[in-house]
Every structure is written in structure tokens, then in C-alpha cells.
């Protein structure tokens, strides 16, 4: 029987892959994709918990809000990337080094 744990394993895998993507990629759009993976993994958690543990739709409503936030974030992110591309003619994060950490 497919149970809660199955979904949690999938979401943990997505989360880990998302973190991996964020850590190892230099292209800004790739990092954004990693962020989307993380947010999707959290959403999967929410819906799975909503179905199996909480007995109401709170998790699903939360997931809708997460989708809203993620979409807005990506829109702003791409606006900044585009603006930066015009400045720098590249979105390689290594080139974004005029500010020394």
C-alpha cells in the first residue's frame, strides 16, 4: 500500500537534489531551478501530510500560497537576471564578483 512514507521519501529526494543544484551550479537560472525543486518538495510534504495526518485541507491551502510565492519570486528573479544580463552580457555568477564577499 502506498503510504505517507513513500511521499516523504520522494520529497526528501527532491529537497536534497534541490540543495545540490543550488550548491554546485554557477548559472543564476540553474540556481533558480534548484530553488523551485526545494519549494516543490516542501509542497509535496504539505499535501501528503494533509492527506494522511491532519484530516483537513490546511496543508493544501498552504501549498497554494507556496505556489503563489514561488511564482512571484521567479518573476522578480528573472527580471533581475535580465537586467543584469544587459549589464554584464552573461549570467555566470563567477563574473558577478565586483563585490568581494
Amino acid at each position: 500500500m502506498i503510504g505517507l512514507t513513500h511521499y516523504l521519501v520522494i520529497s526528501a529526494a527532491l529537497f536534497s537534489l534541490g540543495i545540490m543544484c543550488v550548491l554546485t551550479r554557477k548559472n543564476a537560472v540553474s540556481v533558480l531551478m534548484g530553488i523551485e525543486l526545494i519549494l516543490n518538495s516542501a509542497n509535496l510534504n504539505l499535501v501528503a501530510f494533509s492527506r494522511f495526518t491532519s484530516g483537513n485541507l490546511d496543508g493544501q491551502v498552504f501549498a497554494v500560497f507556496t505556489i503563489i510565492v514561488a511564482a512571484a519570486e521567479v518573476a522578480v528573479a528573472l527580471a533581475i537576471v535580465l537586467s543584469m544580463y544587459r549589464m554584464l552580457r552573461s549570467v555566470n555568477l563567477d563574473r558577478a564578483d565586483t563585490l568581494k564577499g
Binding site: 495526518t53 500560497f65 522578480v76 563585490l99
Partner: protein, 496 residues
């Protein structure tokens, strides 16, 4: 409509006013042609002032939650509402005179600032994890855009991209932690979370998942207050952003982050113990972990600031260090500690904003943020140099300036909780900090400079600097009031 919602709306006036101003500013920016700058500025100032005025009567209202336990209305929430609106108002007053922002239209700036302010006051009063996440994101996304406001400036663009990527990852991780907490407790309301954790029959087996989930949530909150190791975005973003935005970020979202951190730990993860202390649930002992965080943060911030040559970067590391001191007050889990946090934040608001105002004005007149261009500034503008020295002395924590009281309260709270060694580390850190603050003072006052042309600060900047100076110097005189306000604001609505 549900009558309870309508009743709650009557206690929601500050938020409604800010939202209304936000919408009006957008429309005004589109409608008015040449009068745009003046009209949007006036609208924003009036709106924020009105919201501030509407917050004050709410102190008399009975504490409780609103909108189905989404936000709380308690003294602490109201304190932060007033604080954050005031901080936003001060930054708005500094914006039109700023040389960095003079090339761009300011209508969107005010609109974004209002949106971020709305997010901050909701964040400071959130009692539900969904509301926490949503308002945190609202503050963050608005901040990302404000940091990148100078579209043609490379540093500004870079800073905003770095801020966004780092911030989005932190809040994504935080969200994952929130979902785990939701799975364990079945609800997103902090009050229910607390009940579920307190009543857990066998806390042992849940301890790992609780640790993981709270660490993840701490990642998001730590990012907002720029605590180590979530501080990596801070120096670059502070340096690249237009300085009024930097000033804003260093005070307001940081304070909002502290508000929700305190609320999360006190109402979500602890319960009232004997006397005035809180105790965390047996499964996880949070105090040592967050104490280490506080120590690492203040130490790193101070040490990194020692060799900075750029004023904005120096103040960025200085603000990281101050976050460490403020954490000290939150960590000790007592009412004293909470009061210390509030006191420190009040003093920090004025002294940090004051220092930034001067940096802004010096840039307006000379076009530089580098310390080497501050040499011999005393000859060029005694007013700016002396007021900067006052703010720096206050940041150092020298009595009788305001900063001293902030540190005093925080260290006292630690000592009262039998954590004298913690206070000693804080004191040692303050001593280290003296070096870099004093270095700026020495550069301005004692060193000889090549440029000797006099610098006259504009009247509006001068007025604003006086507005920051008076509380910094004179807070001691009003200490009774400050005491009363902060101890009265410590009340957190704990639910039943």
C-alpha cells in the same frame, strides 16, 4: 461576511492605512506628471504617519489573536508595529535628498517601501506559520527589488541578485522545516504547535525530526537577521544597494526578523516556567545552540569589521555584530531578556540610522564611501564629523549615550540568568569593536586630509541627523518612559 472578521478589521487600521497608501501611491505615480515626486512623497509620509498614529490607541485593546489566529494583537506586536513604521518613515524622509536615488523616479520606491512595511508589521505579529512564511517572503521580495533599484549600477544589480538567490534558498529551506513541523503537530498555528509539543507522550523519538525542522526554520530566520552562518549576503548587499535602502535593511527587516524569532521561540517552542523564565521542551535544548550562534555572530562581525575601508561595508559587519548582541537578549529566555531586546532595538534604530544618514549625506556632497576620503573631515564639516562621532560612540556602547543602555540591559539579562560568562564574551566583543569605530573617528577628526573645501550639509539632512542625534544623546533623560514602554511591551499573547 463573518462578523468576527469585521470586528477584527477595526483593530487592523494601521495595516489598512498602509495598504491604502500603497495603492494610492501607485495610482499617483501614474496619474501626476511633473508633480509625481512631491505627491508620492507627501502621500507616503502622511500614510506612514497616520498608520503610526493609529497604532497607539491599540495599546489599550485586550490582547488576542485576529483573523482566525493568524496574527496576534499584543503589546509586543504593537511595539514592533510602531517601531517598524517609524523606521520606514525616517528612511522615506531621507530618500528624496539622496544623490544615489536622484536619477530614478521615486514613486515605485515608496510603493515598494510601503509594501515591505506592511509585510514587516504582519511578520512581527504572525502567530501562524503560513502567515510567517507569507509575510517573510513579502518583506524579502520587496527588499530584493529595492536593493536593485539602481538599474544602471552594476553593483546594485549584483547585490540584488545575490540577495535574491541566497534569500530564496534560505526561505525554501525554512519552508521545508515548517512542513515537517506541520506533519508532527497537525497545524500551522504556533499555539497548537506548542500544545502538541508540550503534550507529546514520548518526546524522544520525535527529537531528531524536531531538531531538523527547527534548524531549517532557524535558517530562514537567521538569514533575515543576518546571523552567522546565514550572513553571507549581508556585506555585499549592504555595499551594493543604494544607501537609504541599506540603512533601512540594517534596522527594519532585521528588527522584524527578531520579532518573529522571539515569537517563534517563546510561543511556539517554550512555555512559561517559574517566575519570569521560559523553559524549552525537554526534547531539544535550544539555548546552547542559539547561544553559540550569538557568540559566533558578534565575534565574526567585529573581527571582519576591523579591516574594512569602505564605510558601508564596515557598517554592514558592525550590524552583523549588533545582531549577535541582540540575540543574547533573546537567548536567555527571560522577560528581562525580552525587554533587553526591545531596549537595544530602540537605541540601535537611532544610532545606526544616524550613522547611515551621515554616510548618505557625505556621499551626497563628496561622492565617496571610502574611509580614506573621510580624512580630515572635521575641517570640512564639523557638524557631520561631530555627529558621526556621537553615533559611533553610541555604537561602541559608551555611557551616557543610548548604545550603552542597550548593551547594559542585554548583559544584565545574561547575568541574571547565571550566564555571566556569556556577558563577559559580549563585553570583550564590545572592546574589540571600539577599535574600528574609533578608527573612523580618528580618520575624520584627527587625520589631515588633502581636500579642504568646506562641506555644507543640506537642511533636510541636517534636520534628520538631529532627529537621530537627540534620542541617541538624550535617551538617558527619558529613561523612565523607555523603561515603562519596553517592560509593558514584553507581554506576548500566549494563547490558552
Amino acid at each position: 461576511m463573518d462578523p468576527k472578521i469585521i470586528a477584527d478589521l477595526h483593530k487592523f487600521y494601521p495595516e489598512i492605512v498602509i495598504t491604502g497608501t500603497f495603492l494610492l501611491v501607485i495610482v499617483a505615480d501614474l496619474v501626476f506628471g511633473r508633480l509625481r515626486r512631491a505627491v508620492t512623497f507627501a502621500l507616503t509620509v502622511l500614510g506612514l504617519a497616520a498608520a503610526f498614529a493609529l497604532t497607539l490607541p491599540l495599546f489599550a485593546a485586550a490582547p488576542g489573536t485576529m483573523f482566525s489566529d493568524m496574527v496576534a494583537l499584543d503589546p509586543m506586536a504593537l511595539f514592533f508595529k510602531a517601531f517598524l513604521i517609524l523606521a520606514s518613515l525616517l528612511v522615506v524622509l531621507a530618500a528624496p535628498g539622496s544623490r544615489e536615488l536622484s536619477g530614478s523616479g521615486l514613486g515605485e520606491f515608496y510603493a515598494l517601501l510601503l509594501g515591505v512595511t506592511l509585510g514587516m508589521i504582519l511578520l512581527a505579529s504572525s502567530t501562524d506559520l503560513l502567515m510567517l512564511f507569507l509575510s517573510l517572503e513579502m518583506v524579502s521580495v520587496g527588499s530584493y527589488i529595492m536593493v536593485g533599484y539602481l538599474r544602471n549600477d552594476r553593483q546594485s544589480n549584483e547585490a540584488s541578485l545575490k540577495y535574491l538567490l541566497f534569500g530564496a534558498v534560505s526561505t525554501g529551506v525554512m519552508l521545508y522545516g515548517i512542513t515537517l513541523l506541520f506533519g508532527i503537530t497537525g497545524s500551522t498555528k504556533l499555539i497548537v504547535v506548542r500544545h502538541a509539543l508540550a503534550g507529546a507522550a514520548t518526546p524522544g523519538e520525535n527529537s531528531l525530526i524536531l531538531l531538523v525542522s527547527t534548524l531549517f526554520i532557524l535558517a530562514g530566520l537567521g538569514f533575515k537577521i543576518a546571523a552567522v552562518p546565514f550572513h553571507f549576503w549581508c556585506p555585499d548587499v549592504y555595499t551594493g544597494a543604494p544607501t537609504p535602502v541599506t540603512a533601512f535593511l540594517s534596522v527594519a527587516p532585521k528588527a522584524a526578523g527578531f520579532a518573529i524569532l522571539v515569537r517563534f521561540f517563546f510561543t511556539g517552542l517554550s512555555q512559561a516556567g517559574q517566575g519570569l523564565t521560559w523553559i524549552t521542551f525537554a526534547s531539544i535544548n535550544w539555548m546552547p545552540i542559539v547561544m553559540v550562534l550569538s557568540i559566533v555572530t558578534m565575534t565574526f562581525g567585529n573581527i571582519a569589521a576591523l579591516r574594512q575601508e569602505n564605510m558601508k561595508r564596515l557598517l554592514a559587519y558592525s550590524s552583523i555584530a549588533h545582531a549577535g548582541y541582540i540575540l543574547m537578549g533573546a537567548v536567555v529566555l527571560t522577560s528581562d531578556g525580552l525587554q533587553a531586546v526591545l531596549v537595544y532595538l530602540i537605541t540601535y534604530l537611532f544610532m545606526n540610522l544616524g550613522a547611515f544618514m551621515i554616510v548618505i549625506e557625505i556621499y551626497n556632497r563628496t561622492g565617496s564611501f571610502e574611509l580614506k576620503d573621510y580624512r580630515g573631515f572635521y575641517r570640512r564639516s564639523p557638524f557631520l564629523s561631530v555627529s558621526m562621532s556621537v553615533f559611533l560612540l553610541s555604537l561602541m556602547g559608551i555611557p551616557p549615550l543610548a548604545g550603552f543602555f542597550g548593551k547594559l540591559y542585554v548583559f544584565a539579562a545574561a547575568v541574571n540568568r547565571d550566564l555571566a560568562w556569556f556577558a563577559v564574551i559580549g563585553a570583550l566583543n564590545s572592546v574589540v569593536a571600539v577599535y574600528y569605530y574609533a578608527r573612523v573617528m580618528k580618520t575624520m577628526v584627527i587625520d589631515g586630509g588633502d581636500e579642504t573645501s568646506p562641506v555644507h550639509a543640506s537642511w533636510d539632512s541636517t534636520a534628520l541627523i538631529w532627529v537621530m542625534l537627540i534620542p541617541t544623546v538624550g535617551l538617558m533623560l527619558f529613561w523612565d518612559q523607555v523603561q515603562k514602554i519596553t517592560s509593558g511591551s514584553v507581554g506576548l499573547f500566549l494563547g490558552n
